[in-house]
């Protein structure tokens, strides 16, 4: 495109660069600060952005290693961050696997089969999802309190119960997977059926292998959801060793025992992998968020 650019245009570009960079600097500043704080000695020390004296004490505590304090005393890690991270991964992984299984089978029926109330079922599933689970916390607590009476490993303060509580929220996943199934032509499955395959075999051996990419995406989305979920976990989990990271992390910042430096190290340690996974999945997440509710 041959467009004559005048001088004011160049100025504007430069100004835009400057503005965006300044904005990015403001936005990223908290992260840089946290990195610097995690390397400063002590929990209350203030200092420059680039610490003059680098100390790894907070990182040691975050990794669960005791360290020798300046007064010669051995400082034991107070919170088992790695344990919390593992709890989070365990709960999120389990709920993602179960959720993926449930939503894939549902999506198959919605995409390929005819049955009564199909349309109503699909839209009511989506309608249910519009009400955040925060509003039903009292009921969720009461339900799992009851379940725990009969099946102790699914009650309050168990990871089994938390996983179960997360498996209900699959409506968006069903829609995402169904949308993908709709794009795969049915002829291939029909050919398999002509060759004598049952409906289940057509699903298991023909359709599923072709849908692996979307299944992985949905798994990642469900996994991230499980990691960052806070309200239900905060109600169901109590025991310190049982907490997930989302619930446990705030314990660093109670006014009575304020552990700013320790928190900084723990936050980077646990936040980095989650952020990486999120950036990996965000492309589909955004498109799911924007189109999931609208498309039909």
């Amino acid at each position: 495109m041959a467009v004559v650019l005048d001088k004011s245009h160049r100025w504007r570009v430069a100004l835009a660069h400057l503005g965006v960079i300044a904005f990015i600097a403001t936005v990223i500043f908290p992260f840089l600060l946290i990195l610097s704080i995690s390397l400063r000695p002590g929990n209350f020390a203030s200092g420059d952005l680039i610490p003059s004296h680098i100390s790894l004490e907070h990182w040691r505590l975050a990794l669960g290693i005791a360290y020798q304090g300046p007064d010669g005393q051995l400082v034991e890690p107070q919170f088992n961050v790695l344990r919390w991270l593992w709890n989070s991964i365990k709960v999120a992984g389990m709920s993602a696997i179960i959720g993926l299984f449930l939503s894939t089978t549902c999506a198959y029926a919605f995409a390929r089969m005819q049955f009564v109330f199909k349309k109503q079922l699909m839209s009511s599933l989506l309608l249910m999802q519009m009400f955040p689970s925060v509003l039903a916390l009292v009921a969720i607590y009461a339900i799992f309190d009851q379940i725990g009476v009969y099946i102790p490993w699914l009650g309050i303060d168990t990871h089994g119960g938390l996983v179960l509580a997360y498996t209900g929220g699959i409506a968006l996943h069903i829609w995402t997977i169904k949308g993908y199934f709709d794009t795969i032509p049915t002829e291939i499955e029909e050919a398999a059926k002509v060759d004598g395959a049952t409906a289940f075999q057509a699903f298991r051996y023909v359709l599923l292998p072709m849908a692996v990419p979307i299944l992985m995406v949905v798994f990642l989305l469900a996994f991230i959801q499980g990691i960052i979920e806070y309200p239900i976990a905060s109600v169901l989990l109590h025991e310190k060793d049982n907490l997930t990271l989302a619930v446990g992390a705030k314990q660093f910042l109670y006014p009575q025992h304020y552990r700013w430096g320790d928190f900084a190290a723990a936050a980077i340690l646990s936040g980095l992998p989650i952020t990486a996974v999120f950036l990996l999945a965000q492309r589909w997440m955004i498109s799911g968020l924007t189109s999931g509710g609208v498309k039909g």
């Binding site: 936005v27 203030s46 955040p132 509003l135 009292v138 806070y230 910042l253 952020t275 950036l279």
Partner: protein, 508 residues
């Protein structure tokens, strides 16, 4: 061969699952919950039908997922409505039957022969050994000693065939378990009951209450009569004194009346409602404002490094919320926070971010804008890309500047499609529990309200505090407020659906 084997394995798994389900149903029935057992049975029956009838073939794929959605999403919603009409709270925690049993299990000490006792470990549980003055020795089965309610256990005379008891526990362990031990009534073979009295003795006890006519209970110590009152949910004495523990009863619209008519509830409710609206409204305005400007810039082809900028600008959205919110909590800290250190250095001020109501609100909006603008930015980028380029070419020929372009072309053209998304964002922030809970916890609190309520509380976090943090643990009231919020969310969703439909039909 392989297919046949697979079929048998599947059948076996199904049989095991069915048996487990039936066993669970039986357990629930035995525990005195016939209604719940019936529901379980109905679910099992449906499962058997779905997986055996050919007609219901499609539902074989749907059943597990739908069941999970119904039990863990739909049922909690309905159950929340139901709780809103009861007095369910820490004072009225038990069902009527359990509360009645609680009174019937209560005992009082009477004069009589005392028994010496020792406590013995049995795995993770304990056994109690009793010895009367004539040398008769009795032991109880293993008890967990973790319960908070009265229990009654049968003791049998120690026979030589019994496995030997372990060494008696030391005094420290005994004292640790004394609280639970006090709730245990041991029934001896001769029919008498005894409860712990001091650290070494069991004293004979008698039940404090005996069932009387019409559900009344008669106190054996002073012959007073208490009657259940099914409107207040308490057993009451003849003078109307309420005796704890109470039980759950339906109280109709009382909770809703509280919220809307009683000043001590309605006033904080209105204030919080107003702030909830302001908070979500301003959040949408700010995040959209920042987001759309950045989106326009990032769609400007003259700008280089746009890919890099995009990733950096998106970063706040990628970091898990519970981490970045806590990071801000630390940075804004009034005494040790880095932000106040900097402000102090530059301007000599140390704003009280967490104790001044206005500043706390400002802080929440700053943090929430930071958290939310990337989402708006990405949405706007997509919509702006869809605007035909010839519009801008025409306006360039007419000599329009970038500001005119923005306000006359870009904004009007994305306004319609972005509207439903803005409303969703409003609804999301209306219920943004995580931000409030992790950043301010609703504080600073109002000083002039009876129920604990905070100046930065949203309706959801207020509900959470009533249910789980406030000492009253008033689940019923919390559920009623939740129901009110439900209605508001439903209205928002309806409006949203309408708008979405309008845009869809117009684009077609």
């Amino acid at each position: 061969m392989g297919r046949k084997l697979e079929k048998w394995v599947l059948l076996a798994v199904a049989a095991v699952l069915l048996l487990a389900g039936l066993f669970l149903t039986y357990k629930i029935y035995i525990a005195g919950q016939p209604l719940l057992a019936l529901v379980c049975l109905a679910i099992l029956g449906t499962a058997v039908y779905v997986y055996s009838a050919v007609r219901a073939y499609a539902f074989r794929y749907l059943f597990p997922g739908l069941l999970a959605a119904v039990v863990f999403v739909l049922f909690p919603l309905i159950y929340t409505f139901a709780i809103g009409f009861t007095n369910f709270s820490s004072k009225n925690l038990l069902t009527y039957e359990r509360a009645r049993q609680y009174f019937l299990d209560e005992t009082y000490t009477v004069d009589g022969d005392r028994l010496a006792f020792t406590l013995h470990r049995d795995g993770n549980a304990f056994r109690i050994r009793l010895q009367d003055e004539k040398g008769g020795t009795f032991v109880t089965p293993a008890l967990a000693l973790k319960q908070a309610e009265p229990v009654s256990v049968d003791a049998h005379a120690l026979a030589p065939s019994d496995p030997p008891l372990t060494e008696a526990v030391d005094l420290k362990t005994l004292i640790q378990n004394l609280k639970a031990l006090k709730q245990v009534a041991v029934k001896l073979p001769n029919g008498a009951a005894a409860s712990v009295e001091g650290l070494h003795e069991f004293a004979p006890v008698r039940p404090l209450y005996v069932a009387g006519a019409e559900g009344a209970l008669v106190n054996q110590q002073d012959q007073s009569v208490i009657k259940p009152n099914f409107t207040t949910g308490f057993f009451e004495s003849s003078t109307g004194e309420q005796i704890k523990p109470g039980f759950k009863v339906g109280i109709g619209w009382a909770n809703f009346k509280h919220i809307f008519t009683e000043r001590s509830f309605s006033e904080p409710f209105l204030r919080i409602f107003l702030w909830t609206i302001i908070f979500s409204g301003l959040t949408v305005v700010f995040t959209f404002g920042v987001g759309v400007v950045l989106a326009v810039l990032l769609n400007w082809e003259a700008l280089r490094f746009r890919g890099f900028y995009r990733v950096m600008l998106f970063l706040p959205y990628a970091v898990p919320g519970f981490i970045s919110i806590l990071v801000f909590k630390g940075l804004f800290n009034e005494n040790f926070g880095e932000l106040n250190a900097m402000l102090n250095m530059l301007f000599g001020v140390r704003p009280a971010w967490f104790s001044d109501p206005l500043l706390a609100k400002v802080m929440l909006l700053i943090v929430n804008t930071w958290l939310g603008y990337p989402y708006m930015m990405v949405l706007c980028m997509g919509l702006i890309k869809a605007i035909p380029a010839d519009l801008y070419e025409a306006s360039a020929i007419a000599g329009a500047g970038p500001l005119t372009n923005f306000f006359r072309i870009t904004l009007p053209l994305i306004a319609r499609p972005i509207m439903p998304l803005l409303i969703s964002s409003f609804a999301f922030n209306f219920n943004n529990f995580v931000l409030i809970s992790l950043l301010t916890g609703g504080r600073p609190d109002f000083l002039d309200t009876k129920v604990p309520a905070g100046t930065t509380d949203l309706l959801v976090s207020y509900t959470y505090r009533i249910a789980f943090e406030d000492s009253g643990q008033n689940f019923g009231l919390a559920a009623a407020i939740s129901t009110v919020i439900f209605v508001m969310v439903a209205i928002l969703s309806l409006v949203n659906l309408r708008l979405t439909k309008v845009t869809q039909t117009e684009t077609r």
